[in-house]
Homo-oligomer: 604 residues x 2
């Protein structure tokens, strides 16, 4: 089973066309401008000295690397001389400032040059990983080898220190990332030593030979023994990506089983309905099963992206809609919420509920670090820790990667996006055309030309019709050259409940239409959203929110009737006033200023 | 309007008789033993030196002072030679170690002797206040003047420094308490200078002349301008007590109005259904209106006690059941929960919901100070900061104080406790006998002998009958010598809802019978209490929980039927299984080991 190179896919209509255009025309420049202003690009000059502004931070290399990776993905579709010039200049700076032994890291070149590979927590190998990913992508997009070669030299140096000489102060990265990057380098170069190095970092983690083991970075026990997703959520899913990669390429059943267990623990017990993960700001971490508080969730954008990347890798190990359904959930909800409709600002944490005035609850206490943490209510253009914005640009630019995988004879259709793809299956040059407005509606036409192949099409988990026989969530078809398959995954509006153990959602219901989770905002519905009750016997009306240009659901609803004199606590009254509640897709919240926002509603 | 000296009241049956016996036979010794073990009593020797164990803490004086005050209240009813000996020894140590100028404070005598009146935050005047209260109580109970005289000398010194010489590094106490204590000293001695000093501390607070003003200790603005209860909850209500006292004795309308506003803000917007206050562990503080999260409440025992003391003082300013209803709510719920049924262990925070496994949510993060704070699930025998246990002993020992107030011709009956009271009204020696099993049922007989008087009897706010004409919640009766008034406040079981703004309770209902709030525990009802639904059409059965020896309510209820395969998120199913839910009084929770506990239930 292989990924289908996204560059052979053109998304030519619908929501993802719109988002990709937005990245190309707006977001890539917006992120660049903010990174430029904050010194991240100039940091590659490695000329910072104590006393100068813009002291390089330990993860700045990775911020720019993900931006370069995004440019590579855009470039692969359509070259942009301006952007390419910026990348080439940056690569020249890397070349210039790379140490003769191959080492490259801004912070440990200019701030603590004598402390290479000393601090597990200092993102050194994480930065290396993102530079590798960027180099692979840029080579693949442009054919320019320089960046790739520089990184290969760096990786050789890393291998020398961590594997051959074993003279580093830590043994496994504090923030995983290099492991999955090394697999990409292996896929790009065919050099098995890179896969071996990835496997080395995966295997040593949490063993007796690993220095400084802890739950926080998934090194509490060896990775093969792990059964629950623990610690920092982004670190966790990046690690799991690499575990799935290594399991695939080394045919490692034990490692695959660990991945299956960990994925299952996440999506069955530790994931928000939006596909967000990481319930706690404390360590940006997973917590305990079913602990999914909406008001104080963390649900970092990078974690959702990482979970989608992990799920995509799991599809190569086992073609089951268990994985592709989660990808769909993420891309239309907890990921898509991370960028504003204008493409210029971003959520780091994606709130699952907002009550603005609660953010002022602890102001009487001077030490702001001890105040109850709640995610920001509005998107920002840049963050001190700005990992998310360039992760968003690279993910959307390459989102076509999520549509298909293929093996010898079969094309697996995981996601529905209007697009045209060219690929080779069973030696045949096949063109696949998807015609769909998904997720606006559930109609999908898939036309195959160039030969007879087998198609495996995901029947969405949310779809209730039984008109398609499916195996592990996929319907299989032998398709003749020129044939069109016609699907209609009829979308009805549904009330969704969580398991009884998910204590923060008990007695409450989310509204879903197809893969899209809807939410209410007080700008449309007035305050005290937690107390409004949607009428579960009235039909929803599907329309458009004109202010936002996104879908809208409206339905009869009620609020309790109280007066100014009603006491704080009083006997159950059952006095209700009806009104029309208006819900928008979760991904579109917080585009009209600060407002309450709610996913989980009461019903009547 | 005056308080009726509780020592003239004998509670001779019912829940408070039981609790007072428990204090006398068990709790007073249990608290003494813990304080003795932890060096609190020996600290009065003032011989600690660097390197020795049991370094005195800044508030140890107050811990022992509240214990002494408790002994005084017990002694006033029935002398206990052992306890009195301990007090007398402690008083001798105070005498021995009091500075020639009158100053007494353990910490600032042995740890930082050159730092008297330097740190606003160091509880110096708070300790003084509790010593004053103890001295007044002990004099009143035993007639022994020594402690009182020592404290009068200390107060004279305080006045010299803070009022005459004005040479202290702060101008108002960081932790209020001395203000209300000074009023007690005034009431005891008749010396107006003590009232003046109290008024001085009340008036300077938050003004331009106050040094180091902050929200946390209610010094953000002058007290007369305050409209919302802010900052540390115990500090706040102790301040408000003094404000009400000063308003009474100086006939200060502006100050009284501030008290009315602050009381109203608390009970209408910032108080839990248990009478608990302080929504946040961050600063042990009030937060914003309607922010009453149950899982992470703080609701300190001392804060509930303080609110009851404040309410009692408000009754002297305005006889309205607005105040006495809240006292009732506190004593049967958020206060009574603070001590175990065996009288030996205590809650500092009184949880309004418990889900034990959530306490492990943030363990992956090493810095435990940054983890989400939730109140302890089990009572402790002693705390590092052990203000609550001796506050519980003094409050229960003197609980008869809450029953009555009186003016020239009228006896106001605020609480119902089986008891006999002797007092003088309108020059007549009156005996009042209450016969009741309250709150077991709502029948109350009140017999007056010794003359004709006016009785004003609180009609409980929870009572729905309209058989009593009431003015501000009190029914007035001209009672002849020997007459018995007969009340029957019929108790039905009620579902109580909170206002829609109280977001953590929306869609959920508390169960109340008379003044008592009930809760469920998983030891009786299995796990996932948040998801059980009480049947709102079935009748409750009132019985007894045999294991605990407290009342029990049972009612038909439902849980959702799910299987191991039910996904975390799935379409609303409406599949329920019925069972019998068992609820106990909130005050009796956590007496059978660690268990989930819930007040606010779903209904069906």
């Amino acid at each position: 089973m292989k990924f289908v190179d996204y560059s052979k896919t053109v998304i030519d209509s619908g929501i993802w066309k719109k988002k990709q255009d937005m990245i190309r025309t707006t977001t890539i420049y917006s992120v660049y401008d903010r990174f430029k202003e904050t010194g991240r690009f100039d940091a590659f000059k490695c000329d910072w000295k104590e006393g100068m502004p813009f002291k390089p931070h330990i993860f700045w290399d990775s911020d720019v690397a993900k931006w370069i990776e995004s440019v590579a993905y855009l470039t692969k579709k359509k070259r942009d001389k301006n952007l390419e010039t910026i990348v080439d200049k940056t690569v020249s700076l890397i070349e210039k400032n790379q140490s003769p032994d191959g080492y490259f890291n801004i912070y440990f070149t200019v701030v603590q040059p004598d402390k290479r590979f000393t601090y597990r927590s200092h993102h050194e190998l994480y930065c290396a990983g993102h530079l590798i990913e960027a180099a692979v992508a840029y080579y693949s997009a442009t054919g320019k080898r320089k960046f790739l070669d520089l990184m290969c030299r760096y990786v050789d140096y890393i291998e020398k220190r961590f594997v051959k000489e074993k003279d580093t102060a830590f043994t496994a990265p504090g923030h995983e990332e290099i492991e999955l990057a090394l697999v990409k380098l292996y896929e790009c170069t065919g050099e098995k030593k890179y896969l071996d190095l990835s496997k080395h970092f995966v295997d040593i983690r949490g063993t007796e030979n690993d220095i400084g083991r802890q739950l926080y970075d998934q090194s509490h026990i060896p990775v093969r023994e792990q059964t629950t997703a623990e610690g920092h959520a982004v670190r966790a899913v990046y690690l799991y990506c690499a575990m799935a990669d290594v399991a695939l390429y080394t045919n490692d059943k034990e490692l695959k089983d660990a991945c299956v267990r960990l994925f299952s623990n996440i999506v069955n017990k530790r994931m928000y309905i939006t596909g967000g993960i990481g319930s706690s700001s404390v360590g940006e971490a997973f917590t305990v099963d079913y602990d999914l508080p909406n008001l104080i969730c963390y649900t970092e954008t990078c974690a959702s992206i990482g979970l989608a990347l992990f799920a995509m890798r799991m599809l190569r190990l086992d073609n089951s809609s268990v994985y592709s359904d989660i990808i769909e959930k993420i891309i239309y909800n907890g990921f898509l919420s991370s960028v504003s409709l204008d493409g210029k600002s971003f959520f780091y944490e994606n709130p699952c509920e907002i009550i603005p005035y609660l953010h002022y609850r602890d102001v009487s206490f001077a030490d702001s670090n001890r105040r109850l943490y709640m995610p920001k209510t509005q998107r920002s253009e840049v963050f001190d820790c700005s990992c998310c914005p360039p992760n968003i640009t690279r993910f959307i630019s390459s989102i076509a990667n999520l549509i298909y995988t293929a093996d010898e004879n079969t094309l697996y259709v995981h996601q529905f996006m209007q697009s045209k793809t060219e690929l080779v299956i069973g030696g045949k040059n096949i063109t696949v055309r998807q015609l769909t407005k998904y997720p606006e509606d559930g109609k999908v036409k898939i036309k195959v030309t160039g030969g007879n192949i087998r198609l495996a099409v995901r029947i969405p988990g949310w779809y209730e019709g039984n008109d398609y026989a499916a195996e592990k969530g996929y319907a299989y078809f032998d398709v003749a050259d020129g044939e069109t398959l016609d699907f209609n995954f009829r979308m009805k509006v549904k009330f969704v409940e969580a398991r009884p153990e998910a204590l923060f959602d008990c007695g409450r219901y989310a509204v879903a239409r197809g893969p899209v989770i809807f939410c209410s905002e007080s700008v449309d519905n007035g305050p005290d959203l937690r107390d409004i009750r949607l009428d579960c016997r009235s039909a929803f009306k599907y329309g458009k929110n004109e202010a936002l240009g996104v879908p809208e659901l409206s339905v009869k609803a009620y609020r309790r009737t109280v007066s100014a004199e009603t006491p704080l606590y009083h006997e159950k009254s059952d006095r209700l006033t009806s009104f029309t509640a208006r819900l928008i897709p979760y991904y579109a919240f917080a585009n009209r200023g600060e407002s309450e926002m709610l996913i989980w509603h009461l019903l009547k």
